[in-house]
Symmetry: D2
Subunit: 312 residues, 4 copies
């Protein structure tokens, strides 16, 4: 549908869940889908969803607990200053983890976009941080075999979010002391946070905390959620190279928001981009030639990359 | 209501037009309201609206032609590549100008947020620019006594907008060759465009092209539309000082979007801020003391401002 | 040499002018060089420089008047509040224009990086704007056959610069009323100003005001002056396509600042990138295929571009 | 002196160390100074410096190990891919810690501005991260009573730095497993990283990892190092309030870079700002009134702050 602040009903008709699944299944190269709990799937429709996805040959890549997109979360979820709200977030997350387990899904994603603040003096930051750590720890210990992937983002919907960088997400995961707390890296959120996705991914992989990936692109300021490759080719080539070298074993999930674009076409373009880049970087010659360029003038690597990756 | 991408129905109930007017009239220090055409006022309800506003003692500060907030404008308005759409924008603007004239309103505001592009290779920029110039010129010449105030903004809803800076808006106004084309300076748009509002206002006043002002505040990245004073005190003090010195004769209009805040309170806080700052800078001692500080070390002026404007 | 705030002597030895020219001449694909006045060339060494460049087969692409890189300009040049300083800027620019004419150079570039302010209340913006307009007009009228190309930039060295966007530069050129005042578009400055270089170039070409180009790349925040192609491939492909379609007739000038990189290699990599992209977009099939993609879903053009321009 | 990329010799004469100390001692309200090792103080001049500072009544607030501002560090320090360089950084840091101990200084600050990268494919991020963790851990264990304060920054001098956010610095400290590794929060670096300094400070204090503070201000994009209060009054008022409430016990250190401004005046203005804000927020009425405002409409707190802190 694509709601936004300006055109609240979006620019195109709303698609029901089963219609969306059907269209996703028609995308070449897609073998899974990311679902939200409890909107898309829950304890009641679990088997129905399972069999529907099975009929399309789709796996569930990850389950996202919905803690943002309803006015009920406007004071926050895990970090709300309202203890009942915090408890509700914990309970819902545990239920989501159980559904994930029942579905055979490894990764539950938590995007805490309402845990933040709009103005100065609105929030008690130290208390909020402790609530985040203890609440997520409680969930993680509830089902240690389910991985919790925290999705960080600088801003939105709250003007300022607590879990606002790759580093903050890593620090939060470490502070819980739980090995099953890690990060869902949305590479667009990395770009708007002035990070290089390949760098964040490498650090997280090196700490065994990269559990999931959201792929999209933007102009470096706002979370445009444009097709992969709309802006950052060298950065994306490097990202997929690092993921391959460091043996990332999770999913490549598209998180696009094509306001005025056709959703299916935006996904198809993204998939083409990803496949072409993977073909390029997974060829053994790529790593071999790269290593030969490194160590000299830094721009020699760029020069090589231009010849290797840019059609001419 | 406060729709957004995440919570499409917003965080609070929708208020009907007359209810909104009633609440605005209750704000201390408010003597006018900005209306949209044809949503709030049009040829059919003109007299009704006039008499309702009159009963509240409210004037119409400016009339904004609605060319953004409906899916029909998704290819743009004045700069759309669809000639029918461009014609529709011109016709609607002329009708809005007539309604403004009938209401005794000097300024018609044009925000062209759909005139832009999302991806590379999507738009024909040179053609779009010529369409902007000729379309706005046609409207301006239609009723030369009505002032057209172009509101610029870097981005949103299109990822990239054509009229994206104070300079671009000024260049567009100049290119029409019409004296009744100028700028609606939204100071939040100035901040996200890395401009200093006081500087833009001064240049536009010096060119007789500052026709209207939208006041709000933000963190310098996105168009947060927070209460005036949420972030930039020295910049706002300077802005109101320059407006006063350069004899700006237009309205101070609040353009807030308090997603999760009470709209009335957000306006009331903004009005307090503006009044306090105006009291400060309009006192003759302010200009006198300021001039004594200037010419020495640049930070002497800051030092003076801290003592003058910050409570201690 | 590459001075910076942190390592004031830079990271590598200083190269004398003739040594730099020699190395530049060794770059494949280079036929001209941009000089500064009065540092590199002036009335005294004019013939010497001419014959030296001739011996290397190099033309002069543009002459930049040096109005920034000396402490004498710290209050500004054309817009300084010191009338003697403003006069000095005008005189120096006129002298530079005469040298340009003597050299047979069409374009004199003016970068006014000290014309701006650091703090609020430091500058008189309205007066500064009028000084810019009248000073540049005086120079332009002095030698109407020499083109003055204003180089805009958001920031640096002053924290905030007056001529801070493509729009502002265009508005300034228009305000002089002189046809020989236009813009030197540094595409890195466009990126940090949240502009799309292809869009700015198209608007300026459509107004006959694009006189010169500085090419480089950056991460979208600071003026990194990295090799062309370090970040923005689709945006650069579009830029060169638009320049070609709109028949830009000026130079492609590299403006890099390879702090910790080898300057020659950084230029060589950039030249490879530019040549490969030009080969791509100048092939008639590019425009033909592009036109076939346009008009449908916006991402279809991206999809096509991925297949056309990304090696796989 | 104030070197920069454009005016490499800066805009004013260089001051020798003892002259700088003398001028700093003349600033009202200053009781300490931050020194660099080995530039300002080292094993050889230790007693001399001690007695000179004593004669001015100045303590040493913190000791910064110089690992950035010399071409020798261009491949990085703790995270360099050159093992000898990494060893040199470790050795120098240990020596600095010993000098700090001899001076009775608690905090050694480490700013790792060369540990990062300019281009894609230039660095091995996973290896670099491990080098950071192990190198800093080795130093921290060497003298556990000396606190190591990591200063983070998004960018500069490397285009992209590894320790680029408050979260990353916290994660790094946690990863060492050492209680004496924490953070030097430069609030200007927080602003350019889209963080709210009060929030970062609160989280770090809650984790016992806020060891030092650098105070300055900027426009939110680049590290302008302007006087405190040049831009962000509400954010700074909140920062000092949180530091007071959470019992921060470290120093308030000014880190300004007044290129074209008088250094002494820039410091004096900053000190006035800090003192006035501290007077305001340390008054018991501030906290009392604040608590009464919280819990209602978020802008009620802003409204109260305007009346409380803005002169009228």
């Amino acid at each position: 549908m694509g709601s936004e602040r300006y055109v609240d009903k979006g620019y195109k008709p709303y698609l029901a869940f089963d219609e969306r699944v059907k269209r996703i299944a028609e995308l070449p190269g897609v073998s899974g889908i990311e679902l939200t709990f409890p909107g898309d799937v829950n304890a009641h429709n679990l088997n129905l969803v399972k069999s529907m996805l099975g009929s399309y040959g789709l796996q569930v890549a990850a389950l996202g607990v919905e803690l943002v997109c309803d006015a009920e979360w406007q004071t926050g979820s895990f970090a709300s200053d309202d203890p009942e709200r915090r408890q509700r977030a914990i309970t819902l997350t545990k239920e989501g983890m159980e559904v994930a387990q029942a579905l055979g899904v490894d990764v539950v994603s938590l995007w805490l976009g309402q845990d933040g603040f709009d103005y100065v003096f609105q929030a008690d930051y130290a208390r909020a941080w402790r609530s985040l750590v203890t609440g997520i720890k409680e969930c993680a210990e509830f089902l240690p075999r389910v991985k919790l992937a925290i999705e960080y983002k600088t801003s939105e919907p709250k003007m300022m979010c607590y879990v606002n960088s790759g580093g903050k997400a890593l620090a939060l995961a470490q502070a819980t002391g739980c090995e099953n707390v890690g990060v869902n890296l949305d590479i667009g959120h990395a770009f708007i946070g002035r990070e290089n996705p390949a760098e964040v991914a490498s650090v997280l992989l090196s700490e065994n905390r990269l559990f999931h990936l959201h792929l999209n692109d933007n102009y470096g300021i706002a979370d445009d959620d444009m097709p992969v490759g709309a802006v950052h080719w060298p950065q994306l080539i490097e990202l997929f190279y690092r993921l391959e070298s460091l043996a990332y074993a999770g999913w490549y999930s598209l998180d696009l928001y094509p306001y005025r674009d056709d959703s299916w076409e935006a996904c198809a373009a993204s998939i083409t981009f990803i496949q072409q880049v993977c073909d390029l970087v997974e060829d053994p010659s790529f790593a071999e030639e790269l290593h030969k360029q490194q160590g000299g003038a830094p721009s020699k690597v760029l020069h090589w990359l231009y010849k290797k990756a840019l059609m001419h």
